[in-house]
Amino acid sequence: MVPLSYYLVLSAVLFACGVAGFLMKRNIITIFMCIELMLNGVNLAFVAFAAHWHRLSGQVFVFFVMVVAAAEAAVGLAIIISVFRTRETLNVDRVNLLKL
């Protein structure tokens, strides 16, 4: 038996690492990977809660998250390729035609 909160803490740690990475990393691809990490953390929370409530819908939700992640990855990487084609860089700080 493992307390549910252990699973939740693990999921929160993964999510928080993703957030920190999103803010800290400079390479666009790595930033995108950090988003995937966040989604993974979310998935763990879903599965853990599904076990807690004995409701399979939590596990089904994870499938949809994965499908969406896959779709996002396809589109995102295509966007990254098209940015690279016009700017020849993968550093977010150099993608700065639009001033923030």
């Binding site: 409530w53 969406v68 996002e72």
Partner: protein
Amino acid sequence: MNATDYIRILPELVLTVFGMIVMLIEPLLPEHNDRKGLGMLALVGSLLAIAATFYQAGYPGQAWFGMVQVDSFSVFFHLIVGFVAATVILASFEYLAVQGIRLGEYYGLILLGAVGMMLMSSAVELVLIFIALEISSISTYILAGFRRRAAISAESSLKYFLLGSFATAFFLYGVALMFGATGSTSIYPIAASLRTGAPALAYAGMALMFIGLGFKVASAPFHVWTPDVYEGAPAPVVALMSTAPKAAAFAVLLRILFAAAAPGWFWIVWCSAALSMTLGNIGALVQTNVKRMLAYSSIAHAGYLLCAFAAAKDIGISAAIFYAAAYAVMNAGAFIVIAHFASHNERYVLIDDYAGLGRRAPGLAAVLTVFLLSLIGIPITGGFFAKFYVFSAALKSDLVGLTIIGVVNSAIAAYYYLRVIVVMYMREPKEDTPIMPMPVALGVSLTAAVVVTIYLGVLPGRVLNYALQGARDLVK
């Protein structure tokens, strides 16, 4: 599965079918074809979807095992999305031709994206809401990058994509926590569970979901992406993405806050509303680029809308619904004018470029003036009643502070909108910007937007009543 199940997703079905037909025809067309035929097809699709929505309004109720619910609320937002999609498609014929974009996928993406936006307003299960949200987001990420030769467009697409996915992850974590707190992902069971007492998890879930949706509706402090993305994206796409997905995201927010009765949102919404209004208007004051200026103004408008959220109750919700409609029409119209005027490669997007427009193209200038006046909230335009209802709802709920902030902000906002009008009518142009003749399609779409804006400003009663009905259906 019986027939009513299908009727309750009929508009989405129509759009999907037309989107797929567009996709199937696109590769058969020769390279140099301008894809106008596909655009017409897409237009027919969106108009049929609107018709389907009217038909659907006679069959309220849930369908697909409690996944979607048709009620006045969903019908209202379906109409907003359908109207914006049709207008933008009409306006895109000329834009795509001028920019030399010969990709039929453009229309396919608008139609399929609209499927997501419509579903967002009728979904009552977080799984479906999430998928619909992603459909609408992903299609707009792609559309933002459609000027493929322009680095600025790719960059806008990238920023939108990265921040949008980031926001989605927050939304999802919120959903997970809400599921943990209540054991369900369906709106009404969640509401039932929360009524018996909300654990701390539910508060955290609500806050995280608000972060995610706050990004999508561009409310402060989650608004930083808006000016950049709107500046870089193609103007008709901005007309779409600053209105339809936003309205849909507001619909989701309304469902989560009021139908699911999520706890503890009041101060978050209050702060976000005040911040959005203030930051949006202050940001807009210093812009020289019209697209950026309107981007900041859209942040401010998200703030006004959130005021209505904070007012809550029937009257606040109906004010929010009405505001969403008025804002969608006037903002889409304004961006369509910009799209027309921007010319090849979007060269003319600075406020100074508009100098002398009032004399050289009186019609275009007059139309833009109507939209800008409506954005300010001048009487006989839709914007006036929208603001009026929002602030009176806020006052009735004793939100004096928020109302004062809102009214002061409206006054500030008048300055930068009026500046454009002044430039158009009072200043002589430095160089003669080319003014293209107005094509019929664009004329139709602008006329539609103007007519609706004025209609909402002169006879708001029917729409407001329907919004009130929607609000009642929502909290029932």
